[in-house]
């Protein structure tokens, strides 16, 4: 059976009174719901997204985690959102809930507030920066160290790569790692290639790489 989701979740800020309680009704304990309501309302007033708080509360409850630990995890998410928002402001980006959510994810995955600021300072449009932050977080989850990670995503953002191209970076790194490179070396190589491409345009035959065919009988 295929399950197609008709109602995609959004990461929009919820500001209507009672909206948070509605999302949480029947899914989490009253104590956790009250905490999310309190943190979410206060965060909304500062331009922070609420959805990550709701998601963490629901996730904890679904996984059967005790209330005190769910509450601690929700508080941690609230802190991460604050940290990400401050880092983005430092980089010159005004409040953008999607970028803040992506920044908080990148920090969870292993990047620092300074790394987020560095990406914001590239000066990409908010939509592109959001994709860049998501990709940087994914690269961190794949084991790419922060320096190589930020270098790769920055050069890709600067060269004006499309969102679709940015989204391929993690898989490109994985592909190089499968050939025996470390995640750091793979990201560094891709950075150099992206920088060269930005200077000279795509190399001849770029995109045509294929795994080499079987060896002839007498290699």
């Amino acid at each position: 059976m295929l399950t197609l989701l008709a109602v995609p979740l959004t990461l929009l800020t919820i500001q209507q009174p009672g909206a948070i309680a509605q999302r949480l009704a029947g899914r989490v304990s009253p104590n956790v719901a009250a905490l999310v309501e309190q943190l979410g309302t206060a965060g909304s007033a500062r331009g922070l997204p609420v959805d990550p708080l709701i998601q963490k509360a629901i996730e904890g409850s679904a996984k059967g985690i005790p209330d005190d630990r769910v509450a601690a995890a929700v508080r941690r998410v609230a802190t991460l959102l604050d940290t990400a928002a401050a880092a983005l402001r430092e980089g010159g980006l005004a409040s953008d809930t999607l970028a803040i959510t992506a920044g908080a994810f990148a920090i969870t995955a292993g990047l620092s507030a300074n790394d987020i600021t560095a990406l914001a300072r590239v000066g990409a449009r908010p939509q592109a920066l959001t994709v860049g932050l998501r990709v940087a977080g994914t690269l961190a989850a794949l084991g790419v160290p922060p320096a190589e990670n930020i270098a790769l995503v920055s050069v890709s953002l600067r060269s004006g790569k499309s969102a679709a191209d940015l989204l391929l970076l993690p898989a490109d790194v994985e592909s190089e790692v499968a050939k025996g490179l470390t995640p750091a070396a793979a990201a560094a190589g891709l950075s150099r290639a992206a920088a060269a491409q930005a200077r000279h345009g795509p190399p001849p035959g770029h995109g045509q790489e294929r795994p080499h065919p079987p060896a002839p009988p007498h290699p």
Binding site: A215, P217, P219
Partner: protein
């Protein structure tokens, strides 16, 4: 595919190409062990062999549309694995083969005593000093138990050239074993 019958390699290849990617697991399950020993002896390490077999299956998947005879998937797969094993040895020639052969020897100690294990280890080390094509013909004949005719068919070559390769391998193995005795 015929109802009730075990699907042929060709049935599975065609299903995978039509989008049923998960059916590829059936091919992997069917053939993952067939050349496991070949890869282990070619590379001198069980871990390296497992990586090679995995990588060969992934490459085969990537190139599946180029498999001209889907019903002979396994013959085509063998050539990809062989290519991978040859490339691996080229890449790792600089690494210490002693470590690689240790894993082979360690597994032997339960089934033949220290002396047998030592002889096997010495031969495995000597095999790693051969060229890949010399090592391969030795492994296929004396480990896998294939005849010269079967090897010639699999590698699309002549029995005479295989014998020439093998006879050079015998001499080099003897030389290696004497040097390290």
């Amino acid at each position: 595919m015929r109802p009730g019958a075990e699907p042929t390699d060709g049935d599975i290849v065609r299903a995978v190409l039509a989008g049923e990617r998960e059916r590829y697991a059936q091919l992997v399950e069917r053939y993952r062990d067939r050349y496991a020993r070949y890869a282990a002896r070619m590379l001198g390490s069980a871990d390296a062999a497992e990586d090679a077999v995995q990588d060969a299956f992934v490459r085969a998947f990537d190139q599946l549309a180029q498999c001209k005879e889907p019903d002979n998937f396994v013959g085509w797969f063998f050539l990809i694995l062989r290519n991978r094993c040859f490339a691996e040895r080229r890449r790792s020639r600089a690494t210490a083969p002693l470590e690689a052969a240790d894993s082979v020897a360690a597994a032997d100690r339960t089934d033949g005593g220290a002396e047998t294990a030592e002889r096997r280890r010495a031969l495995q080390l000597a095999l790693l000093e051969l060229t890949p094509d010399q090592r391969e013909v030795f492994v296929l004949k004396h480990v896998e138990g294939l005849s010269y005719g079967q090897i010639a068919e699999r590698l699309s070559t002549s029995v005479a050239s295989l014998k020439m390769r093998m006879h050079r391998a015998y001499d080099r193995l003897r030389e290696q074993l004497r040097e390290h005795a």
